[in-house]
């Protein structure tokens, strides 16, 4: 039975509260619009749900997790003892034959921004105009000039620490002072210099100075378990409270969006969701709908929004909804150790995890066809003293020699993680599984995805370069991962609602507004044409800010009527 709430019509319904949804509700509420936000999970409580400086010996299994409990039937499920389980178990997916996909998801309020990697580089014209440069695919329907002011505003809003680097391929922004280099960074930078590879401060949304009422980082190194002081950007710390302060927000948690409702003209009039506690279907109504459920989930909701007007899913007259799935190939390109640091005192190397430095794309910059692959990748170097001395599992022997060996090697390990974008192809996409339904009776999304030849060439290339950097730095390279990580792992999927000027080939226009349904907007990485060599989060926020101001303007011009 469907429970409707006809008495209230909101100005905007926003699905999702992560980087995109959070920015959307904040922006729309501050503009005075009445917003209902649907969030598929619960609210987090930083007091209880984050690690909050608890040490492994305060945990039953020392943080290694209950050995009897397998890591869940959802591949990639991340379970820890560090806090209550916040990872999604009930909403699974299927993969088409030949496809693999690994996908830990957090549906709690704030989504993945609660635990994200914080790397926040701007896309540049080299990304937006990639097709013009190398002839593959099409350009984005906007330029760097158009987006740059929004990047600046987001950077000022959330606080990003980095340095000015004068590389148009990864444009500089407005930054707080950078994180300092560690010993291993100076050593590896020297090695990288010798073969002409940039080794620079990453752009990291983590505060080196107090900012907007939030204290600077205390460098505890547990960022991936959530921050108890809001010292790195997360939607749950920075956006949701601001939106709530306006009193214009109605946040519904445990609200699993199912489909978008349409009126007699096929325009969006609301959202049907399942209340996860009562399992009841509920409808909410609004004058506009923003989908920000993250790339694949947004596509699933839209594909599941079938009606007389939209037999193949809402706003899908182009047939492109769910298509063009891209992802970042992740993998350990090289690992080794720096003998210079053997036996040296420990150093707080992992204070920002591995996002203190990066090696931003250096390939195909002058000549887009210089390498054996097109486009390019970036690399995140890391290493040093980790919380757990992983060398203890490799070192031979036992006794005092072993104990000393582990201690001597503690500051020395180095590792390189590649971030390489897959190319758009017709064979990588998502659709609805015709048979399988999730816990709530909603069709499961089915993933069709394989790494393409181009991205695998980048992987091979990165292995050679990173090994060489370790050697040139005077280090010992001990190998690389045999295979890249399974697709999905980076959580940087893009493309399922790609933007473009031509309604025949794109789901949304350059403002993230669907071509077919003027009051339906998409605010996540699904609108991106590719995932580039950079991470997606800050771009999601910059694009969302731009989209929402366009939406607000449409209310002002009465293209959308206020509720």
């Amino acid at each position: 039975m469907v429970k409707a709430m006809p008495s209230q019509v909101y100005d905007v319904i926003v699905i999702g509260t992560g980087a995109g949804g959070g920015m959307a509700i904040k922006t729309l509420c501050e503009a005075g619009l009445q917003v209902c936000a649907l969030n598929a999970g619960r609210r987090l409580n930083p007091e209880k749900d984050f690690r909050n400086h608890r040490m492994p010996w305060e945990m039953k299994f020392r943080g290694f997790g209950d050995p009897a409990r397998p890591s869940d039937n959802n591949p990639g499920f991340v379970d820890t003892e560090w806090g209550p389980n916040i990872w999604e178990r009930e909403v699974t997916f299927t993969t088409a034959p030949g496809s693999t996909w690994m996908w830990p998801r957090c549906f709690a309020v704030g989504g993945k921004t609660n635990f994200w990697g914080r790397s926040s580089a701007r896309f540049g014209d080299i990304d937006f105009r990639a097709a013009s440069l190398d002839g593959y695919d099409v350009d984005w329907p906007l330029t760097y000039e158009e987006v740059a002011p929004y990047y600046s505003r987001v950077e000022r809003m959330i606080g990003v620490s980095s340095s000015v680097q004068n590389r148009p391929s990864n444009p500089d922004g407005e930054y707080l002072p950078p994180f300092n280099f560690r010993c291993l960074d100076h050593i590896l930078q020297k090695g990288a210099e010798k073969i002409g590879v940039p080794y620079l401060h990453d752009r990291i949304a983590q505060l080196t100075e107090n900012h907007e009422g939030f204290p600077r980082c205390h460098f505890c190194g547990a960022c991936t378990f959530g921050c108890d002081t809001g010292s790195f950007f997360s939607s749950s710390w920075r956006f949701v409270p601001k939106a709530e302060a306006t009193k214009n927000l109605h946040l519904r948690t445990e609200a699993m969006a199912k489909n978008i409702l349409v009126d007699e003209n096929g325009m969006a009039k609301g959202v049907a969701y399942i209340d996860r506690q009562t399992k009841q279907e509920v409808e909410v109504y609004g004058r506009a709908v923003v989908v920000a459920a993250s790339c694949v989930e947004s596509a699933r909701i839209m594909l599941n929004s079938k009606s007389r007007h939209w037999p193949n899913g809402i706003a899908n007259s182009s047939g492109q909804l769910g298509r063009n799935l891209c992802d970042h190939l992740y993998g350990e390109s090289a690992r080794g150790y720096l003998p210079q640091l053997l036996g040296q005192p420990s150093f707080p190397d992992s204070v920002g995890d591995n996002t203190i430095v990066w090696m931003p794309r250096w390939q195909n910059l002058k000549n887009p066809r210089e390498e054996k692959f097109i486009r390019g990748y970036s690399v995140y170097p890391g290493g040093g003293c980790a919380e757990y001395p992983w060398y203890a599992t490799q070192a031979e022997g036992f006794g005092s020699a072993y104990k000393r060996d582990v201690k001597r090697r503690y500051p020395t390990p180095v590792s390189f993680t590649v971030q390489a974008p897959s190319l758009r192809s017709d064979s990588n996409f998502v659709d609805l599984d015709p048979e399988a339904k999730d816990h709530y009776g909603i069709p499961k999304v089915r993933i069709h995805f394989q790494w393409d030849e181009n991205v695998l060439k980048m992987w091979e290339h990165s292995k050679e370069v990173c090994a060489e950097i370790i050697r040139k730095a005077g280090g010992v390279c001990e190998g690389s991962a045999n295979e890249p990580l399974i697709p999905g792992w980076s959580l940087h999927e893009t493309g399922t609602c790609r933007m473009g000027d031509d309604p025949k080939h794109a789901v949304t226009n350059g403002f993230g507004q669907t071509h077919d349904v003027q009051n339906l907007y998409v605010c996540d990485a699904s609108v991106f044409l590719s995932c580039t060599d950079k991470t997606t989060t800050i771009s999601i926020m910059a694009f969302t800010l731009r989209t929402c101001e366009h939406l607000i303007e449409n209310f002002r011009r009465e293209e959308h009527k206020r509720a």
Binding site: M59, F61, T208, Q340, D349
Partner: protein, 204 residues
Amino acid sequence: MAGQDLQRREILRIMSMAAVASHFPGFAKWVFACAHEGSADGPTVKPAKYTPQFCTAQEYKLVERLAELIIPSDGTPGAREAGVAEFVDFMVAHEPERQYKFRTGMTWLNAHSERLLGHPFVELSEEQQASILEPLAYKAKHREGEEDGRAFFSTVKDLTAMGFYSSEIGYKELDNPALKFYQKSPECPHTDDPEHEHLPPPKW
């Protein structure tokens, strides 16, 4: 919330440890022993005696001995002080799939010791124990027919390392930087020597 200072957090953390200790009595020994140095009004949890949950009393002595041999007390505390045998027993007790191999591994080691040196492992001298373990632990000394022993030793060693380096004693052994907070972004102290070619001699 945002302004909540770390000191208060730290106090809450230490207070919560008393509760933790009472939930996992098997861990009380080192939770108590490690956590509250210099804390004048620390919690009053009494260290509980650990009762092995998987091993028999005799097997537990073997696990204790192996852990001590792997990470000895040699000037700095080792597996014994960190209560690592408790952790090993506890983890095996919670992983049914591992139990059969673990138990047969212990049996193998004792039978092997008796065959070569006439006594079960724990009754051997330290040198004799080392002579049994070395062929299991070092690739260059591997002997044919000892595959099961090597697999068992490797399991015990992994669990020992996990138990030791996740204890506060293990953190202190490495001077693990996660024991502290930092006022500002920690910076390499050798910026005048970027290649780190002129560092002071190794500390250990």
